[in-house]
Symmetry: C2
Subunit: 334 residues, 2 copies
C-alpha cells in the first residue's frame, strides 16, 4: 500500500485490498465499490457520489481489463492517467483505490504478460487463467453482436473485483446499459450478497454522453458524434407524442441521423428494457433504445461510442418493475 499526498490509500494487491475492506467491515462500516477502467470523468465521479449515499466507505477500482478486449480492439490505446484519477477520486471523497497491475495469472513463457489476456492473444499454457463467467442470454444482443467475448470478460473481472473488495453495494453507470443488466443478472443468478445500483448517464452540456473514449475524438468527430444524443432526444419526443408507433421506424430514423452525420453505425436497436428481448410495439413495456457507432479518432482508427435511453418509462413504473428491481432483490436476500 502507498499513501498519496491527499491521504487516499492505494492498494495494488488483492491481499492488501481485502485486508483493508475487512477491517472496515469489522468496524461495522458498509462498503461500496465503483469499478472503473480509469481516465475518470464527471460520470464516474457521480457514481462515487451515489456510492457515498449508499455506504460508509467507497472503494474505486482502476483497471483496464484485458479479457473484455479483442485483439483488434483498443486495449493498447485505451486512455490511462492514474495519477489524475487518484486526485479526482480523493477530491470526490472516495476512501480507497484498488489499482492492481495485473489481475490474471500470467505464466512465465506463456506470452506477453497482462496483455496476453486480451481475447485472441492469450497463451494456452495449462497453468494460465482459464475461468470465465458468462450470462448466456443477456450477453448476446447489442454489444454482444460485434464484441462476442466482451461481457464474458466483464463478468469475469467484476466477479474477481467482488471477491477481492467484498462490497455490500456496487455502483455502475447506465451508459453501459447492457453491462448493468448483465451484472444484475449475474448477481442474482450466482447469489452474490451485493446490491447493484445503476446510475443515470452523465452528459456534456451539448448532450454527448460522457466517456473516457471521448478524449480520442477529433474536434470534428466530436461535433458529428452529437448526432447520437440528438437521435435519442428525437426518439424520446416522437414516442412521447405518438408521432411514431413502430420500433423499426424509430430505429431507421435514428440510424439515418447518425449516418448522415458521418457515423458508422454498429447498431441502433429497440429491445425490452429489462430482459433485452425483442419488442413489437412501443406502448406495452419499457423499451431500451440503444446505439453504438464509430467516429474517426484523432490519432488512428475510429472511436466506438455507445449511448441509450429508455422509452415509455411510465409503462415501466406501472408494471412495478423499476430499474433497481434486481438490486433490491439482492438487498432483501441478505
Amino acid at each position: 500500500m502507498s499513501v498519496e499526498d491527499h491521504e487516499l490509500p492505494v492498494f495494488t494487491t488483492a491481499a492488501d485490498m481485502r485486508a483493508w475492506v475487512r477491517k472496515q467491515k469489522k468496524s461495522g462500516r458498509k462498503v461500496a465499490l465503483v469499478p472503473t477502467m480509469g481516465y475518470l470523468h464527471e460520470g464516474h465521479l457521480s457514481l462515487v457520489k451515489a456510492a457515498k449515499e449508499k455506504a460508509d466507505v467507497v472503494v474505486a477500482s482502476i483497471y483496464v481489463n484485458p479479457t473484455q478486449f479483442a485483439a483488434h480492439e483498443d486495449f493498447d490505446v485505451y486512455p490511462r492517467n492514474p495519477a489524475d484519477d487518484r486526485a479526482k477520486l480523493a477530491a470526490a471523497g472516495c476512501h480507497a483505490v484498488f489499482e492492481p497491475e495485473s489481475l490474471y495469472v500470467a505464466v512465465p513463457g506463456g506470452g506477453g504478460g497482462e496483455s496476453s489476456n486480451v481475447v485472441g492473444r492469450e497463451s494456452n499454457h495449462p497453468d494460465s487463467h482459464e475461468t470465465f463467467v458468462s450470462v448466456e442470454r443477456l450477453q448476446r444482443p447489442l454489444c454482444g453482436g460485434s464484441r462476442p467475448h466482451f461481457f464474458r470478460g466483464v463478468c469475469t473481472v467484476v466477479t474477481k473485483l467482488f471477491h477481492i473488495c467484498e462490497p455490500d453495494v456496487a455502483v455502475f453507470g447506465r451508459k453501459d446499459y447492457q453491462q448493468w443488466r448483465v451484472i444484475c443478472r449475474m448477481v442474482r443468478d450466482l447469489d452474490f450478497p451485493i446490491e447493484v445500483v445503476g446510475r443515470p448517464i452523465c452528459r456534456e452540456p451539448d448532450g454527448l454522453a460522457m466517456s473516457s473514449r471521448n478524449a480520442r475524438l477529433s474536434a470534428e468527430s466530436r461535433d458529428r458524434a452529437l448526432s447520437i444524443s440528438r437521435g435519442l432526444r428525437w426518439a424520446e419526443k416522437a414516442v412521447a407524442e405518438a408521432a411514431v408507433t413502430r420500433p423499426d421506424e424509430v430505429a431507421a430514423h435514428v440510424r439515418g441521423m447518425i449516418e448522415e452525420a458521418g457515423g458508422k453505425v454498429d447498431y441502433v436497436e429497440l429491445l425490452h428494457a429489462h430482459n433485452l428481448g425483442p419488442v413489437s410495439d412501443l406502448t406495452s413495456q419499457p423499451v431500451l433504445l440503444a446505439v453504438a457507432a464509430h467516429f474517426p479518432a484523432r490519432d488512428r482508427g475510429t472511436v466506438r461510442l455507445i449511448d441509450n435511453t429508455v422509452l415509455n418509462e411510465i409503462g415501466d413504473a406501472q408494471q412495478g418493475q423499476g430499474e433497481q428491481e434486481e438490486g433490491q432483490q439482492q438487498e432483501q436476500q441478505q
Copy 2:
C-alpha cells in the same frame, strides 16, 4: 429454519443460511463448507471430520444439482435420503445443514421447476437462470468428454454455495479428482477468499471406492465393479516396480481388466496430476490414472462409477508441488 431432534439446524433458504454463517463469523469463528449431493456415506463423513480440523464450525450442504446432469443422465433416480443424511451429519459433529429445495430461478410457465435446470431440459424463458462459470481447459478431458456440461454445472453451483455460505475453507473428496482440480483452479482464477482442501478417497473393505451411486449396483455388478480398484492397485504396483514404463501400456492393461469383468469403459486415462495435460512417461511428473466405467444397475440402466490414483507421487513431492498447493495459495492470500 427448522431444528431437528438432534439440534442440528437445517436451513432451506439462502438468506437464513447466510445470516447464520455471518453470525458465526462475527463471533470470530472460522467456517468450513462440505458440499454434497446427499445420500451420505463414510467418505462424506470423513470430509466433515477433516473440515472440523480446519475450522470452528462446519456447514454441510445437501443438494442434487440439476445443472450438472444432462437429460439422459440419472438426475431423477439419483438416490436421496435427507432424514438419514441429517442424522449422520449430526452424529459426525456437523454444526449446520444447508438443504435448499431449489437454487435456480424458475420462472412460472418456464418448465418443470427444479428439474427444468437439467441440461437439455431447461426453458429459454428470458428471466430464468442463465449465468454459468466455466474452467475452460481443465473441464475438457476425462469426465468432460462424455459429460460436456458437467463441470460448468459443478462450478456454477459451487460458486452459488460459496456466495451463500461464505466459508473460509471448503472440503472436497479426491474421488472426484478432476472436480477437485477444477474447483481449485476456479478459486484461484476468480479470487475466492477460500482455502480448498482435497481429501483422499474412502474405500469399502474390499476396495470399492465409496459412492452414493454404489447403492444402485446389483450384488453381481458390485463384484464386477471391484475390477476398477483391482486395476488401480495393479497399476500402482507395476509402476512402482517399473514393470511397465509407458502410460498407454498401463491404460490398456487396466481397461482390459475392467472389460474382462463386464464393465463398459468410458475412459481409462493417464494425465499430468496437476494440470491434466498429456504425459509421455511415468517418471518425470506425478501422473493421475483415472477411470470411469458403467456397470448394470439393479433397477434400470447402468451405474457410472469413477475412481483414480496418483502414480509417481514421489516425483510430486520432489518438485514441491503437493496436492494442497493451490488451496494453500488461497490461504496465504487472505
